[in-house]
Amino acid sequence: MLKQKLALAVAATLTLAGVAHAQSARDYISIVGSSTVYPFTTTVAEQFGKANASFKTPKVESTGTGGGFKLFCGGVGVQHPDVSNASRAIKKSEIESCAKNGVTDIVEINIGFDGIVVASSKKTKPMPLTIKDLWLALAKEVPEPGTGKLVANPFKTWQEVNPELPAKKIEVLGPPPTSGTRDAFVELVMDHGCKEFATIKELEKTDEKKAKAVCQTIREDGVFIEAGENDNLIVQKLVANPNALGIFGFSFLEENLDKIQGETINGVTPNFENIADGKYPVSRPLFIYVKKAHVGVIPGIKEFIAEFTSEKAVGDDGYLSKKGLIPLPDAKRKQVAADAKNLKTMTP
């Protein structure tokens, strides 16, 4: 009796595996990558599925930008994804690893911008911040006032950072290092903030590596709190703690304007117009990458790209702008749509 059962189970497994193998010719688009781009790509995927009865709705996995490229660069063939979402441009090392696995023709599509905001609860007075203030408050090592020697960050309140700011404890909730939002924050705020100090400019001439580390390292003494990848959680914590500031994507600010406010940075308010104009300093481009070798093999990729670059989706009044994506300027958008249509690959 037991043997029979066992044999049955083994047989069942084998048949199922066989069925799986037979069906491995995929008839839907498989997308992986950034959790920041996920809300936008899923919206396009759903619209695409609804509008085209002949194609299945694409499958969108949220793996993070780096994890997405790892899968995307795994090779050419139905078991590998067709499209990768990214909240930053593809790195040189990733292009190389792609090429090693035979993935050479990659189409890069810039879909728009995302703003990164520093926000606080509406219950407190807004603080006009600058990039310099943010760096001084968050860097691990800062130049000592007066001597300019690098010391462990001594600042406990915003007033110590900048006498014009209130005497509030510095407490910032932000994403962990695995997040694309964190990468972008470091690149757009920390890297620029440190350049305002003579000490670091000099250090850059003598020891570039050290200077980069000083610029980018965020303090670890409990002032900067890693609050996880879930931006909704940061919003909730800000509401509960009016003293804290939070760092997250613009779309979460837009959805919660009744509870939180975006702080001005260098005097610019984080809103749709300012990010679209490029006035707001902390914004980054978002991308999707398409494997050209899969076009024509997996049905619908061309049509999906057309939907993603259409005015209906990424235009000024497109449905993605309602979801918080900041559209590209008109001319650039037309250029991107034309390049995408011709499947123009990246030049190595």
Partner: protein, 436 residues
């Protein structure tokens, strides 16, 4: 005896006083212990009540959904300009235009592109699909005029449920003053109604909160658990029976036992990594499929079933085995006819608890691509699918406010399944358990 009572000797009295003196202290210790126990239990209960209260209070509104009654004229010029009822033409007609015309007829005074856009924004984009379905099912409708309840947009739904503060400044809420004015007019005219949210149970995932449902995730969970059960129950039971009844007791079986106990405590993400390396990369099974999910979860559930199965087997008294062997049964007959049936309720209980754990698992599925946005409801073991806990995780991470209540509603459904499964385990134990 009489003598003892009548003339207690000094030693006896001495013991009595010692005991009496210590009595209050011992009683106090016992009372204290009872209090500690009571406090521990009520603290635990308080947390459960807090959790359930929080989830239910947030989630129950999601079971109702706002609808708007719109007068729709099934204009033949839009749906079927040729007039030949060609199904292809009916399929691709612009039904959204019918919805827009209906909205305009309710509010003829609204003008201007922006104002009109705001007006159309009151109803969900699902309305066009709804009209299309109605026309395809019943082409007679063309040319007719009907009052149809259309799905309201998520913002209107949130407003009606009272989750948007009206006193706030217009720029701070997702729904604008003019829209609130229209909603109030419609409500006064009885053209807004809350109906049971069938969409939540009948459709797959969507990025529009009002159209999002858990059907896809439920079916994904069903297929995944079916695979898990089909694999882990027979193998688990067979392993338990062999180890308990047939295997010799030596160093090797000890080693196996230690390993099984260890496996039961391995973090589930490790099984996910294993699944990625073995099932997907080596065997080439498809990503995101319930088949692979089920294989991974059965690896995780197996140790639980084996341990529960062995415990159930040991609780069958040796006299049963001896009696069976005594009347001439073979060892296999002894196990198959007597021991296994008696141990089955305990084994099933263990399996159900293991399955309940598998139902609530999301970490290992992350590695094998089941954390994904999937609109189509899966129809087989190899279709891309996601499961209920993963759906909860994905919804909790979306910016739209209306997903908060849907997240809680999905948690309620998951909890309901958990309660049913664990309740079943208790009933099985109570009904079939034998006391020896």
């Amino acid at each position: 005896m009489n003598k003892v009572i009548s003339s207690p000797d000094p030693l006896q009295r001495n013991i009595k006083t010692i005991v009496n003196a210590s009595l209050p202290r011992r009683h106090a210790a016992e009372r204290r212990f009872r209090w500690y126990g009571l406090i521990a239990v009520s603290l635990g209960l308080a947390f459960v009540v807090l959790m359930f209260g929080n989830i239910i209070s947030k989630g129950y509104p999601a079971f109702w959904q706002t609808y708007i009654q719109v007068p729709i004229q099934f204009d033949p010029a839009v749906i079927d300009p040729q007039g030949n009822r060609d199904p292809q033409a009916l399929q691709s007609a612009d039904y959204a235009a019918l919805v827009r015309a209906g909205m305009r007829r309710m509010f003829p005074a609204v003008e201007g592109r922006l104002e009109l856009r705001a007006l159309y924004g009151l109803v969900s984009s699902d309305g066009a699909l709804e009209l299309q379905n109605r026309v395809l099912q019943n082409p007679e409708l063309i040319g007719a005029e009907q009052e149809i309840w259309l799905l309201a947009s998520a913002n209107v739904d949130t407003l009606i449920k009272g989750n948007i503060e009206r006193s706030l400044d217009e720029t701070e809420r997702p729904i604008k003053d003019n829209q609130i004015g229209w909603v109030d007019q419609l409500q006064a005219a009885g053209q807004i109604e809350k109906q049971f949210n069938t969409i939540l149970f009948s459709s797959g995932d969507s990025r529009e909160p009002e159209q999002a449902g858990i059907r896809g995730a439920l079916m994904g969970s069903f297929y995944t658990l079916l695979i898990t059960f089909l694999l882990s129950f027979p193998i688990g039971v067979a392993t338990a029976v062999y180890l308990e009844e047939f295997a010799p007791k030596n160093r090797w079986t000890d080693l196996i036992e230690v390993n099984i106990n260890n496996l039961a405590a391995v973090p589930s993400i490790v099984f996910g990594l294993l699944g990625l390396a073995v099932f997907i990369n080596f065997f080439g099974l498809p990503r995101s499929a319930p088949l692979v999910g089920g294989l991974v979860l059965s690896l995780m559930t197996l140790p639980v079933i084996i341990i529960a199965g062995r415990a159930a087997l040991t609780s069958v008294p040796p006299s049963i085995r001896e009696a069976a062997l005594g009347v001439g049964a073979s060892k296999l007959q002894m196990v198959g006819h007597h021991v296994l049936p008696l141990a089955m309720p305990g084994m099933l209980t263990g399996s159900i608890i293991g399955m309940a754990r598998a139902l609530g698992e999301s970490a290992p599925l992350l590695m094998i691509g089941m954390v994904a946005f999937i609109v189509d409801v899966p129809k087989s073991f190899t279709d891309p699918a996601t499961v209920l806990p993963v759906q909860i995780f994905l919804w909790s991470d979306l910016p739209e406010r209306a997903f908060v209540e849907r997240t809680s509603a999905a948690i309620m459904v998951l909890l309901a399944f958990m309660i049913v499964m664990n309740g079943l385990a208790i009933i099985l134990r109570k009904r079939f358990e034998r006391r020896w």
